[in-house]
């Protein structure tokens, strides 16, 4: 539902004039960090945390229908952070699921953050398995840890990381918990990427 994160039509018209083309050339292409995952797990909250750019956040699946982009610093390096609409599977059903997959196919992100809801790990892991199969530079981000803890759910993240062969980082994005550790991990993974 995000007309709001779009620029208004007249800004888009004047944008080309205002943009300074030199700026891009000097910096070179930034490395990309893509946020993907099931709907309503908090990708957009995490995006807001990582970039300081506000995109609309709500408590229902399907708030984000288009890709938003912002910049964040990871271990002293600036990278482009990309928020995507939720998807249940790499085999998409709806149009907005297709958006997220197309992004993985066409933009080759240096780091892919699969954001999942800690209260419902079992339902979210199939997508993690697909992303691993697809050879994505993956970090599994277990979000909503605060609510999971309140429900008495404990997750052995080290064991899960070993079983999946990818780093696992628990966070509570709305409380800004675990975000620093996540930034560090992103910087590490991005260092491997060309």
């Amino acid at each position: 539902m995000d007309c709001c994160q779009n620029e208004s039509w007249w800004r888009r018209l004047t944008k080309r004039v205002r943009q300074n083309p030199k700026e891009h050339e000097e910096q070179g292409p930034l490395k990309k960090v893509a946020l993907v995952g099931n709907p309503n797990v908090g990708k957009s909250v995490l995006f807001n945390r990582l970039t300081g750019v506000y995109v609309v956040v709500s408590n229902y699946p399907g708030t984000t229908v288009e890709v938003s982009r912002g910049r964040g610093r990871f271990g002293g390096v600036q990278m482009e952070v990309i928020d995507t609409p939720g998807m249940y599977s790499l085999l998409p059903i709806t149009e907005e699921e297709r958006v997220a997959r197309r992004l993985l196919i066409s933009e080759h992100p240096s780091v892919v953050l699969h954001v999942v809801d800690g209260r419902n790990l079992e339902r979210m892991l199939p997508l993690t398995l697909q992303l691993i199969e697809a050879g994505q530079p993956l970090i599994l981000v277990i979000n909503v840890m605060d609510e999971a803890r309140r429900l008495g759910i404990c997750i052995d993240t080290d064991l899960l990381a070993a079983r999946l062969g990818v780093p696992v980082v628990p966070v509570a994005a709305t409380l800004n918990e675990g975000i620093d550790l996540l930034r560090k991990k992103v910087a590490e993974i991005a260092a491997y990427a060309a």
Partner: protein, 485 residues
């Protein structure tokens, strides 16, 4: 103990075919070859098309042969088999790493949340949300108190007289004075509509909507109305674009892409364009009809009837499977004040930036039309149409404005009604017609973008005469029965 990495256990046939297909791939896909192969095996259209284009005809034929062989060898679709195997591993993993302390507790949020999905509790809750959220906050507070204050105490009392006298003092030519000030000036009409009438209404709606959104109520409403929506070719999932339409139909049309089938997306787009008033219209109409509760009921009932009738007929006309409905229901949460405020603020900012240039443009167009006399011709023409609906000719002006933007038309209606020119019956007919009447330019452009020229244009050619016919019929019924005197 050395921990082994676990992989989903796919059937041998699929593994073998996937490896053989992967070995054939030369193109670049951004996904690992094996994953591409698996997607091709699941007959994913987009990826298959990509592979066909990149690999050329001869390799594609060998790939296709593999796909057909696997399909013939399995009882179930490949996608289903793979999903089941992955789910198995996910369950194993979850059992291994997740531990539940002191059992799973049911929270109050969950208990209340479940209740709202049952009709006995859900319908009263819906009525409460509509009454307090829409009627009290948007209609009475936003469109009533705040608009009255900004209109009467700020614009009418200070800004307009001040702008009028300054332009008269600084600009010697009356023609140019009219561009900025007086009846249709950029500041006295365009900016006044935007700041004093539209912004408070839209702002109060966005505030209410943000609270509703963040509480997790909408998916519950979706489950509640799923049965009714099925009859009109939609699923409960459509609740989100439709309720969003009460904020801004343009935004909502964009969100209709979350619906699964093309049929559903078309029906939702049509209903949004036809029967869902945007928050500006809604606010103005609620505040205008607030003093005539019966008129308000007639208006709401009439629109609901049109919504269901047109939805039902479209669903009959457009063949297709009924939509399936599956939606995750998030927990009920106490909305975070900071998110509610930021969200309301960013939406208001977006909206304001979107409308101000258009309102200014409208003032300029009206100014040009006045100079050339074209505006008067249009007003007379729409005045005649208004006459058919039993409305005074000035109502034609509001229709003309509404053509340009929904909210602009609503503001025009507000101006007209506050001068006391309309009876309750006329007010109801005008409000209903204006609600049904064409989508504004912004909404139309999104309709074109999302559904294509043909469909968008077809919808508008249907809506235009339909709105006036409906207004005509409503007026005739109200005249005949004398419900509203």
């Amino acid at each position: 103990m050395l921990l082994m990495q676990l992989k989903p256990d796919y059937p041998e046939v699929i593994e073998k075919a996937a490896n053989e297909i992967a070995a054939l791939l030369r193109g670049s896909y951004g996904l690992a070859p094996r994953a591409v192969a698996l997607l091709v095996l699941q007959e994913d259209q987009e990826v298959s098309e990509l592979v066909r284009r990149q690999e050329g005809d001869s390799r594609w034929q060998s790939i296709k042969a593999q796909v057909d062989a696997v399909k013939a060898g399995l009882d179930e679709p490949v996608s289903y088999t793979l999903a089941v195997r992955r789910q198995d591993l996910a369950r194993t993993l979850a059992q291994e790493v997740v531990r539940l302390e002191n059992g799973r507790v049911r929270t109050w949020g969950e208990i209340i949340g479940d209740l709202t999905m049952r009709p006995l509790v859900g319908i009263p809750v819906l009525l409460l949300v509509l009454y307090f959220g829409l009627y009290q906050v948007v209609g009475v507070f936003g469109a009533g108190t705040v608009v009255d204050y900004l209109e009467g105490n700020i614009f009418e009392a200070y800004i307009n007289p001040w702008v009028n006298s300054w332009t008269e003092a600084l600009i010697p030519w009356p023609v140019l004075q009219d561009l900025i000030a007086h009846e249709y000036g950029i500041i006295t009409l365009g900016l006044r509509y935007a700041v004093a009438i539209i912004l408070p209404i839209v702002g109060s709606f966005f505030l209410v909507f943000s609270v509703i959104e963040d509480s997790g109520y909408l998916p519950r409403l979706a489950l509640l109305v799923d049965r009714v929506f099925k009859e009109i070719g939609l699923s409960g999932r459509a609740v989100i674009p439709i309720t969003l339409g009460f904020g801004c139909d343009t935004m909502a049309t964009l969100v209709s892409r979350t619906l699964e089938t093309r049929r559903e997306r078309i029906i939702a787009t049509l209903l949004l364009a036809l029967a869902i008033p945007c928050s500006a219209q809604l606010g103005v109409i609620l505040s205008l009809l607030a003093s005539h509760p019966r008129a308000l009921l007639v208006w709401a009932g009439f629109l609901l009837l049109i919504f269901l009738l047109v939805g039902y007929l479209t669903a009959q006309l457009m063949p297709g499977d009924g939509p399936s409905f599956y939606m995750e229901v998030p927990p009920l949460r106490l909305p975070q004040l900071t998110n509610v405020l930021t969200k309301t603020y960013t939406r208001m900012q977006w909206y304001f930036l979107e409308i101000v240039p258009l309102f200014v443009l409208a003032s300029v167009l009206i100014w040009l039309g006045n100079i050339t006399g074209f505006f008067n011709v249009l007003i007379q023409g729409s005045g005649v149409i208004a006459g058919y609906l039993g409305l005074p000719p000035e109502a034609g002006e509001a229709f003309l404005f509404g053509f340009f933007r929904r909210d602009y038309g609503a503001a025009g209606l507000y101006d007209l009604a506050s001068s006391g020119a309309l009876s309750p019956r006329q007010l109801t007919v005008a409000a209903a017609t204006l609600t049904l009447f064409v989508p504004c330019i912004a909404q139309f452009s999104v309709m074109v973008k999302e559904r294509g020229w043909g469909i968008a244009f077809g919808m508008v050619t249907f809506i235009f005469p339909f709105a006036f016919a409906a207004g005509f019929v409503l007026n005739a019924i109200l005249m005949a029965t004398g419900v509203l005197g």
